[in-house]
């Protein structure tokens, strides 16, 4: 019996998270834009301008931004219903996202999908999915296609720790392991699945261990530091791209808000949330930019720019015409 090899799991070399203003600046900008975009969405939601479920990623921005920064443009991303940040990080405009949340014709998916179902072919963003676990095999499928074609593309698949008990995840993982598909499974372990804390949903609070049974590489680390996320995920991406081997990566993080806008989050103590808010990755990266020598004025300019971008996105959404077509998008007319 062989015990499968595993990759490094905590801690890592501190020098590996060294960075520069050039590298950090655009990542900070993305994180901030996602934060502001979601705050604006929350506001619009409470004004009744956005409906349905709205799942905010506020507090977890470093994960999607760091992970997607390590990708190339042609690479694929597959995500859950909590995917505004992922779509933005992959290049989708805040205008298109906000208009979608408003259910407008100019929305990313014409007002048909809403918050949970952002898709962008242009950006190789293969969607936000609402059924927990169901998108994991889809990500394996995109990776399968990349290997089939030999085009070198890598797929990142995001999901929560709550998804790790469902069959779709298990099967996607097993097949990717067996067929050595170039995919990076990224578990955003935000420690809650709706109102359920880790210890009530997992016998072992380490999702990355699932890799063992599939001889799959794994990694596990804290997700506060966007550079660290980028570096560590880059290793997995490199493994996928060069040896076509999948990796299961678990990133520990925390969502500041409720599961969705309709969840008051009563299952967590104020202290716990405060503790995590003190570790806010946005503050951290802002401080780091200062440390690295970026002028306060430049940072403020960047922040003003983000503010303007999001205000524009909201205005665009507000002013856009209502969604008006749906019957056209049920089946595609075949050419042949």
């Amino acid at each position: 019996m062989t015990t499968p090899e595993t990759t490094r799991v905590e801690p890592d070399d501190p020098s590996s998270t060294q960075t520069t203003v050039e590298e950090l600046r655009p990542l900070y900008r993305q994180m901030l834009a996602i934060r502001r975009m979601e705050e604006a969405a929350a506001k619009a939601y409470s004004q009744g301008k956005i409906g349905g479920f709205l799942h905010l990623i506020i507090g977890q921005e470093a994960v999607c931004v760091g992970a997607i920064a390590a990708l190339e443009e042609n690479d694929y991303v597959v995500a859950t219903y909590r995917e505004h940040g992922h779509a933005y990080a992959k290049g989708v405009s805040s205008r298109a996202i906000m208009a979608e949340l408003y259910g407008k014709k100019t929305g990313l998916v014409r007002g048909l999908g809403g918050s949970m179902h952002l898709f962008s072919k242009e950006h190789n963003f293969l969607g936000g999915y609402g059924i927990v676990g169901g998108h994991v095999p889809i990500a394996a499928g995109a990776a399968f296609a990349a290997k089939y074609r030999g085009d070198g593309r890598v797929t990142e698949c995001f999901f929560g720790e709550g998804a790790s008990t469902i069959g779709g995840f298990a099967e996607g993982l097993a097949l990717a392991g067996l067929w050595k598909l170039p995919v990076v499974f990224i578990c955003e372990n935000n420690q809650y699945s709706m109102g359920t804390p880790l210890y009530r949903s997992l016998a072992v609070e380490d999702v990355s261990l699932r890799a063992l049974a599939h001889g799959m590489a794994r990694d596990r680390f804290d997700g506060d530091d966007v550079i660290k996320v980028k570096r560590r995920i880059a290793e997995a991406i490199d493994r996928a791209r060069t040896t076509s081997e999948p990796t299961l990566v678990e990133v520990v993080t925390y969502r500041f808000r409720g599961h969705s806008m309709s969840d008051p989050g009563l299952y967590r103590t104020k202290e716990e949330v405060e503790e995590w808010r003190r570790r806010d990755p946005l503050n951290r990266e802002r401080a780091r930019l200062v440390e690295l020598g970026m002028a306060e004025a430049d940072i403020e300019a960047l922040e003003a720019d983000v503010k303007a971008e999001i205000e524009d996105a909201v205005r665009f959404a507000e002013e856009s015409p209502a969604a008006d077509e749906y019957a056209k998008y049920v089946t595609k007319e075949s050419a042949s």
Binding site: L112, V132, G167, R200
Partner: protein
């Protein structure tokens, strides 16, 4: 009698049956500490403890199957799907196990289990979360399929479901939890509603509107609108799709001579087609006009509110169908 909400009625039904029978337990996502995603199980954990109100991880196939196994050896599980959209990952347990074990075992093991939770389109939650899946389950022998439209039906039917010795698919209206209705007080004694009986929610002589779940309310509104034009519609609530009360539906149509079937599901092979077939056969000679069906459009549900409304049957659609069967336009 008290006027209570649909949510409260369901809660009472479970609470009473759990008091009555120690073999009844509830399992599902967020049913305990969170008191239910839609607060239907509010307070049950506190009353019955973690032993009988069990928060499950996201593993519908797993906990639905645990329910089936537990039911085989004599427990009476209530399995809550946070919504019936998620029942699709567990449908193998429902269709291939729960529905068939009594038969496969030659009558040795029955499976007294309730699969319950909200179904049908909610509001702006998109196509994966807005589906009426009753037609799938109603097709399958070995299952019973029940869909209450009001608080009183919710209570009486859920109690019957929990006591039934067979698997029951109990689909609640996701948008009905806050609706209210008169319900007998618990103190007034045991209150149950048998399966297989439709219910006339509004009497009328000119046309029969057949519906279930949320569409009963749409039909009641339509009946009100029609009454303004002097048309008296009878609204019959199917309540139990399997077994179906063909006699009850036919009696109404025999009286009115006209029939409109309203469902929020998709048109092709929707359960309304079965109702139409049964009513047509039973009332061949009594029908003064072809049966009309009103359904949602044949599309996955869009997110935008205006489109969502366009897709689903509205009062005006029901009124228009009634006018067609009355040859008024």
């Amino acid at each position: 009698m008290s006027v209570i909400s649909y949510r409260e009625a369901l809660n009472q039904a479970m609470r009473e049956e759990m008091e009555r029978d120690a073999s009844v337990f509830i399992m599902g996502e967020e049913v305990g500490h969170y008191n239910g995603a839609y607060k239907v199980t509010q307070g049950l954990l506190q009353r019955f403890s973690e032993r009988r109100v069990i928060d499950a991880p996201i593993a519908e196939m797993g906990f639905a199957g645990i329910g089936v196994g537990a039911a085989m050896v004599g427990l009476r599980p209530i399995i809550e799907f946070m919504t019936f959209n998620f029942s699709l990952v567990a449908i193998d347990q429902i269709v291939n196990n729960a529905a068939k074990i009594f038969q496969m075992s030659g009558g040795q093991f029955n499976v007294p289990i309730v699969f319950r939770g909200p179904g049908g389109p909610a509001v702006q939650v998109g196509s994966q979360h807005s589906q009426a899946l009753e037609s799938l389950y109603a097709n399958v022998p070995g299952l019973k399929v029940v869909m209450p439209a009001t608080a009183v039906d919710a209570k009486g039917l859920l109690k019957t479901a929990i006591r039934d010795d067979n698997p029951v698919v109990f689909i609640e209206g996701e948008t009905l939890y806050n609706t209210t209705w008169e319900v007998p007080d618990p103190a007034a004694g045991d209150f149950v509603i048998p399966f297989g009986k439709s219910d006339v929610k509004r009497a009328g002589k000119d046309v029969t509107l057949i519906a279930w779940s949320k569409m009963v309310w749409t039909c009641l509104d339509a009946a009100k609108a029609l009454a303004a034009d002097g048309i008296e519609a009878e609204v019959v609530d199917v309540r139990s799709l399997r077994p179906l009360d063909v006699d009850g539906l036919a009696a109404s149509v025999a009286k009115t001579g006209r029939c409109v079937i309203v469902e929020v599901g998709w048109p092709v092979a929707g359960f309304g087609a079965e109702v139409a077939y049964q009513v047509q056969r039973a009332c061949m000679d009594a029908l003064d006009a072809p049966i009309e069906r009103v359904t949602s459009d044949d599309v996955p549900m869009p997110y935008a509110k205006n489109l969502e409304d366009e897709v689903q049957p509205q009062v005006k659609d029901v009124v228009a169908a009634v006018r067609r069967v009355l040859y008024l336009d």
